[in-house]
């Protein structure tokens, strides 16, 4: 017996070592091969015989009454099959993620520059473009409501939406607000407890997700009167939920299949061309493809909320924080989108990863005639991090302390309480992450004698040869929630099927998860391999034939859909083992699946899986729900509002040409706790990508909006970091398991985008001595020529 056990254990060990592609490994992407061959079908690659091209007419005005729309000339253009206005919408005319305040096509008025008014379907994109130009719209142009002052004085400047149209609990031009008070709040008595008080007003510009794959898709009318849509999105089911009422179809007749997604970053959470393509397909009875040009993409999706923030922090002489008084004003633009949730995040995370005994916070999102804002990576936590981290540096300077030490002195850790009253019940290694980036080796100093001009600010423009360059170093840390908060049950569904194909046990994983580039498909295969002990895993195309997977956002997909795949795979495993117990009468308690075999630690290999499965497939579906949360109290902000927290720390090294006002980030170091790295290669890729978007926000990325009009809707004028702008990004990954999460994992994608921006600004401040309170930092801020 003992011999058999030892033999069995040896066997098991050998089998286990043969599977490096389970969780914790870094197998290659299942879609990588197609992607490098140019054969992966993105949503803009969809093609159908006889298909038409759809295009929208967009408003040139941010605020106007529409007096008339004349489509007669457009209809006469040869090759035009349909021209539609809101009059042609068969069902509900409004949709929205949280508040149904957005018309599918403008009705009587436009509220932002680029709002869609009419649609054309034609046989060639150029035909559609010409027809769009022939639609005549008569406008009564109105003064746009674009500043905070205008928004907050509706009696003077009017309303973006008529007060009776407000479907939220907002008032005036306020879309949503969240207050928070903890400890004693911020009173005169509390202020008196502080030895030092620093305050500042901070501003964040409007950042764009700038995913490379344009909004696009193909709508195909079906014989049953329904519609099939092939689409790049972040959440198939919530798209369908918003679309079906507008199309006047039951949800089951609106079938969505995920087409290849060229990045998302929050910009695909709202609908863009989904309804438009389907309306045109319904009307013409033909397949309709819509592909946005880049300028239309800038108009067609929501952006990161620009913010104005006031922060006041008080501390004792030895650096202990006493209070924080914060006000965050987010410009939500014309329609609500995700603004309420963004406000909730800004309010509950806006004090940073610090223990502060007394906090007062007020966060609001405004309705304005600026472009609509909603989800973008970091979701409300990004803006606030620039505010509170700027304050930490200011406070450290005031106290004569090292900025990292000040942060570590006040850093929250496991067991501490958020100002919302929620206890942090998993590791929160804030001080350690800061120490890790601080301890990483620094890049070598700039060597002016052996200078490669490509490494200095201004680089290839040949504007400098290194004169006037000053180096600075800055630190930051940030906090982000994982998953949807405030009582939202953002469950996920997974179906796992196990069967014998070609003499091998093969698992199939079917979810509606949107793979937007993050690598979820790789991780799902790893989970199935680990749980089922098989090598071969296929990923079924994501569609609405299976239950909702929730959104690919909020750093939640590995946690939520990964969790669902784990549950479904475990169920399949148990069903298979049960089958074996019934057939063979096994009595062992410790039966599991490894290396394509049913095994027991005590008895060794019991039977190959293929023999046990035979011709039968085991096909089971499971839902994963995270632990419940509750909405924050409207006045006090108290409540167990977030599922999980995640932390990242950064160190930035910058070279600044103080004569030209140009910045070159030399190195951007990151340390992040990911709980458990299910796929280390993907984890590092997410952290580096997140840091780079933060770099963009720090020094270059902004949609310039003047009087409500977008001035730079192109990649010529809206600058995202190139490979020359982006430095080496060394990453230190920490794995402290969260006992509440599947495998102990922690969401990864967003935290670096929250934390990295302030480190770069801090480094520029250190280099120049200039108090920078607005991002992106532009050359004129550094040369005093503003």
């Amino acid at each position: 017996m003992s011999t058999r056990t030892i033999q069995g254990q040896k066997n098991l060990q050998d089998i286990r070592q043969s599977s490096p592609d389970g969780i914790g490994g870094s197998p290659l992407r299942p879609d990588g091969n197609l992607k490098v061959k140019g054969e992966f079908a993105y949503s803009s690659d969809m093609w159908h015989e006889d298909m038409l091209w759809g295009m929208a007419l967009r408003s040139p005005h941010p605020r106007a009454n529409i007096l008339s729309v004349d489509i007669s000339e457009a209809l006469k253009v040869p090759g035009v099959y349909a021209v539609l206005t809101h009059d042609d919408i068969p069902g509900s005319k409004f949709y929205g993620l949280e508040i149904q305040d957005q018309p599918a096509l403008a009705i009587d008025k436009v509220r932002y520059h680029g709002e869609a008014i009419a649609l054309v379907a034609a046989d060639h994109p150029e035909t559609a473009r010409r027809a769009v130009k022939k639609i005549k719209v008569e406008y009564e142009v109105l003064t746009p409501i674009v500043t905070e002052e205008q928004c907050l004085n509706p009696e003077v400047h009017g309303y973006v939406h008529e007060p009776h149209e407000y479907k939220s609990h907002g008032y005036g031009n306020i879309c949503h607000e969240q207050k928070l008070v903890s400890g004693l709040g911020v009173t005169d008595e509390v202020r008196a407890m502080a030895d030092v008080i620093v305050s500042g007003t901070y501003e964040v510009g409007m950042q764009d997700q700038a995913f490379l794959g344009p909004e696009s898709g193909l709508a195909v009318p079906a014989e049953d009167g329904g519609i099939d849509l092939y689409i790049a999105t972040q959440w198939l089911h919530v798209d369908r939920q918003q679309m079906a009422p507008v199309l006047a179809l039951p949800e089951e007749k609106v079938r969505l299949t995920l087409a290849g997604v060229g990045g998302a970053f929050g910009g695909r959470e709202d609908l863009s061309m989904q309804i438009h393509a389907c309306l045109l397909a319904q009307r013409t009875g033909k397949p309709v493809k819509i592909v946005y040009a880049r300028d239309e993409s800038f108009f067609g999706h929501v952006h990161r909320h620009p913010a104005k923030m006031f922060y006041e922090h008080g501390a004792t002489r030895d650096g202990k924080l006493v209070f924080a008084d914060c006000r965050i004003v987010l410009d939500g633009g014309a329609y609500a989108s995700a603004s309420p949730a963004v406000v909730g995040n800004a309010a509950s995370l806006g004090h940073g990863p610090y223990v502060i005994p007394n906090v007062k916070m007020h966060a609001i999102a405004l309705y304005s005639n600026n472009p609509s804002c909603g989800a973008m990576r970091g979701f409300g936590a990004v803006q606030a991090a620039f505010g509170y981290e700027s304050q930490m540096d200011k406070l450290a300077a005031e106290l004569g302390m090292d900025p990292v030490e000040l942060r570590q002195l006040n850093a929250m850790s496991e067991g501490d309480y958020m100002p919302t009253g929620q206890q942090i019940d998993s590791p929160a290694p804030v001080a350690e992450l800061l120490q890790r980036v601080k301890d990483m080796p620094l890049p070598p100093p700039l060597d002016l004698d052996n200078l490669d001009i490509r490494t200095v600010p201004g680089a290839l423009s040949n504007t400098s040869h290194g004169e006037g360059i000053v180096r600075g170093i800055g630190y930051s840390v940030g906090i982000k929630n994982v998953g949807f908060s405030e009582g939202f049950d953002d469950y996920s569904t997974a179906r796992v099927r196990l069967e014998v194909i070609g003499g091998e046990p093969v698992a199939m994983v079917h979810t509606a998860m949107a793979e937007v580039g993050q690598g979820g498909v790789t991780v799902h295969a790893q989970i199935a391999r680990t749980e089922l002990g098989v090598e071969q895993v296929t990923i079924h195309p994501a569609n609405t034939e299976v239950g909702s997977a929730g959104s690919t956002s909020a750093s939640r997909q590995t946690y939520m859909t990964g969790g669902a795949v784990k549950l479904a795979a475990e169920a399949v495993k148990q069903a298979l083992i049960e089958k074996g117990r019934r057939r063979y009468g096994w009595t062992e308690k410790d039966i599991t699946l490894v290396g394509g075999k049913v095994v027991s630690e005590s008895a060794g290999v019991l039977v190959p899986m293929v023999d046990l499965l035979g011709d039968e497939a085991i096909d089971l579906t499971r839902e994963h729900h995270h632990r419940p949360t509750v909405p924050f109290d409207k006045e006090t902000g108290q409540g167990f509002g977030h599922v999980q927290y995640t932390f990242c720390a950064n160190r930035a090294v910058v070279d600044v040409d103080i004569e030209l006002g140009l910045v070159k980030v030399v190195e951007l170091t990151a340390a992040q706790d990911v709980g458990k790295a299910l796929n280390p290669l993907s984890v590092v890729g997410q952290i580096q990508g997140g840091c780079t978007q933060a770099l963009g926000l720090a020094v270059m990325e902004e949609i310039i909006v003047k009087d409500g009009k977008v001035r730079n809707a192109s990649f010529t004028d809206y600058l995202i970091p190139t490979i020359l702008d982006t430095p080496p990004i060394p990453v230190d990954v920490l794995e402290l398991p969260d006992p509440n999460a599947p495998y102990g994992l922690r969401g990864v994608g967003e935290a670096p985008t929250v934390s990295a921006t302030p480190s770069i600004v801090a480094a520029i401040r250190q280099a120049t001595g200039i108090a920078l309170n607005r991002i992106p930092v532009r050359p004129e801020h550094l040369t005093g020529t503003l």
Binding site: S26, L28, R29, D31, G32, N33, K35, V36, K37, G38, E39, F40, A41, Y42, S44, D45, W47, P125, E126, A210, F211, L212, G213, P214, G260, V261, G262, G263, A264, F265, V291, A293, R294, D452, R454, T455, L460, V516, G517, Q518, G519, L681, S682, G685, I687, Q688, G689, G690, T692, Q693, S714, F715, T716, I720, T722, I723, L724, T726, P728, I729
Partner: protein
């Protein structure tokens, strides 16, 4: 108008081409080569980079009529006749340089062109050569890794190892 040219070694022809159409449109919508991507169609992002008579160009900036009688090689043409991946393609997969992958076709062609010209580029050479190709997902670190890996493999192959 009718446009005839060579795409990845094979003669192709497209009929009823409107004079304003780009090479990118013709490749993607008329001759069944959608591998080159349409991210900005302004020559800013490099996603549509193809070889035109051996020189990498943004195919969105080339009028279809300009390629009459010329040779185009797209990302699809980096794979050999047997479907085997080219050296640069394999390096991008192995290094984890492909995330959403929309920038990948353009980067592959540009990297292929770089390594043709300079088999062992320095990091600054790589950054300069790829500065016309935007990537929004990776932070470029793994793209640097991929190019270094492709370079190393190419040199090893070249030296007969």
């Amino acid at each position: 108008m009718r446009v005839t040219f060579t795409a990845n070694g094979k003669p192709v022809e497209a009929d009823d081409v409107w004079e304003g159409e780009s090479l990118l449109y013709v490749l993607r919508e008329r001759v069944g080569l959608p591998g080159s991507k349409n991210a900005c169609e302004q020559g800013e992002c490099g996603s549509c980079t193809v070889y035109l008579d051996g020189t990498p160009v943004c195919s969105c900036l080339v009028a279809a009529g300009q390629v009459q009688g010329r040779e185009v090689r797209t990302v699809e043409g980096l794979t050999d006749e047997n479907g085997e991946l080219g050296l640069v393609q394999q390096a991008f997969i192995d290094a984890g340089a492909v995330q959403c992958g929309f920038c990948t076709p353009g980067l592959l062609v540009q990297t292929d062109a770089l390594l043709e010209q300079e088999a062992q580029p320095s990091d600054n050479d790589i950054r300069e050569a790829l500065s016309g190709n935007l990537c929004r997902c990776t932070g470029y670190e793994k793209i640097m890794d991929a190019v270094r890996l492709a370079s190393a493999r190419k040199c090893a192959k070249g030296s007969g190892e």
